[in-house]
């Protein structure tokens, strides 16, 4: 069974078509990257998968469950980290994670242990009792991963997990994701527009442009098809005639806004 299955998904905001016929079939335990510039429709696709936006019945399934008809059961299987840094700065790291343990009905007897385990796995044990307002950007991201992982999700959904982070913080976040995945076999669905990151960390990728998938495969397959020494960046240009840098400034601004709010 595919952990996430999307069949010919269309989504429009009024006249604006955000997603224009997308098919996805994730394999259990893989890291699947949805790549593309801003406005490609990646986030809209994620919002449908995470039940935040409605879809016609039987177009999107998570672990075989329809995201519309079995909404609540799907939510129980998902861990979701939105693009913005969304941890609560006025709560400690531990309190942030404990809230989500409660919201996912982790039994009271196991709760403290589950919270400790996931904070430890994210390398936050030392700072667990400080308020999140004192955390660096990378720590906040790892705290959000802890929030998403405390319910032991089958599918972890990450929207641009490393935007606004420095290289060290980036690899810190990815290392933790891989460790947890190796330990529990969860599937990871991630969006990004950082091609070199996708090449390093995703088992398979799909290139998205203007609401459609233009290419799909392992990073090695896709780059080899273009030529020796080709990068995913080249693959993207080959398939779309476009570069990824179009939305650059907007991202920087969004990341700064987020940093200001959390800091």
């Amino acid at each position: 069974m595919n952990p996430v299955l999307v069949k010919d998904l269309h989504y429009a905001f009024g006249d604006h078509v955000a997603v224009d016929g997308v098919d996805l079939a994730l394999e259990p335990g893989e890291v699947f990257g949805l790549l593309g510039p801003n406005g490609a429709g990646k986030t809209t696709t994620l919002r449908v998968v995470t039940t935040l936006l409605p879809a016609p019945p039987d177009t999107v399934l998570v672990e075989g469950l329809d995201v519309v008809r079995s909404r609540r059961r799907v939510r129980r299987l998902l861990g979701y980290v939105p693009q913005q840094l969304s941890a609560d700065g006025s709560l400690t790291g531990r309190e942030n994670v404990a809230l989500f343990a409660r919201l996912f009905d982790v039994p009271r007897r196991e709760r403290a242990e589950a919270v400790d385990a996931v904070l430890d796995a994210m390398g936050l044990s030392e700072s667990a009792d400080r308020t999140a307002s004192t955390y660096s950007g990378g720590m906040v991201r790892r705290l959000e991963l802890a929030q998403a992982l405390v319910s032991a999700p089958r599918v972890l959904v990450l929207d641009e997990p490393t935007v606004g982070l420095d290289p060290v913080a980036r690899s810190g976040v990815w290392d933790r994701i891989h460790e947890v995945r190796r330990a529990n076999g969860m599937t990871v669905l991630v969006t990004t527009h950082a091609m070199e990151e996708a090449e390093l960390h995703c088992d398979r990728v799909a290139l998205m442009h203007r609401g459609r998938l233009r290419a799909e495969g392992t990073p090695a397959e896709l780059t080899a098809a273009i030529g020796p020494d080709a990068t995913l960046e080249d693959v993207f240009r080959h398939h779309t005639g476009d570069t990824l840098e179009a939305g650059g400034m907007r991202d920087v601004r969004a990341a700064r806004r987020t940093a200001r709010r959390v800091g």
Partner: protein, 274 residues
Amino acid sequence: MSVLPAAPPAASAERPSPVGEVTLLLRRVGAMCLVELQKLRHDRTELVTRTVQPALWLIVFGTTFSRIHAIPTGSTPYLDFLAPGILAQSALFVAIFYGIQVIWERDAGVLAKLLVTPTPRAALVTAKAFAAGIRALVQALVVVVIALLLGVGLTGNPLKLLGAAVVVVLGSAFFCCLSITLAGVVLSRDRLMGIGQAITMPLFFASNALYPVDVMPGWLQMVNRVNPLSYEVEALRGLLVGTPARLGLCFAVLLVAAAVMITVASALLPRLAR
């Protein structure tokens, strides 16, 4: 690193039992109220700054008007009459700006994260409403302390105090959900801020918080009759200082008003998540 267990297969029933639903609702309310108290514990500045206004009302307005005997409150001293009104007002001010917090949570991605937990919308809104109630209750305690220091004769009967706490929580739940409803309509923090400021004072002045209903002009008495704040004040006054009050009616009005507003706010919440 410690090994995190994989989630068990999804075996839970899709059609949950009514008992299960109520338990879930209570658990979510508990979780949200706990978070609210934790936030207060880490940052008490808001609690202190929010104390300034009720303190001024009681100390400056209250003591002055007691002295000039401008407002006929019968055998009840004016300060005793005023204290429950100011208590309700400070609870109102806490609750009415809750929608702003919800909009902030929308902008910060927190709302999306909450909506992707196995929590029905109505449970989420109810939990927020009661969290506002808890927050308002802490604020009310501060007002009670000020009133006691000013020599207001408040009841010591634990049942009546408990009743007053329930009244504050219900009233705050109503105004919190009114605020979330407005947030769901205007969708922007700035506009909601303006609306919040525009409606709090009229709600306050068109209530029995500062003066008895009999001295109001007829049209204001009509407004007063549909203003939930008046029922909150009447109940608080009856319970805390022992003035005559239609307690049954007040509780019924507050309960129905809160339930209706929770329903409306729940219906509008998804608009914020789009």
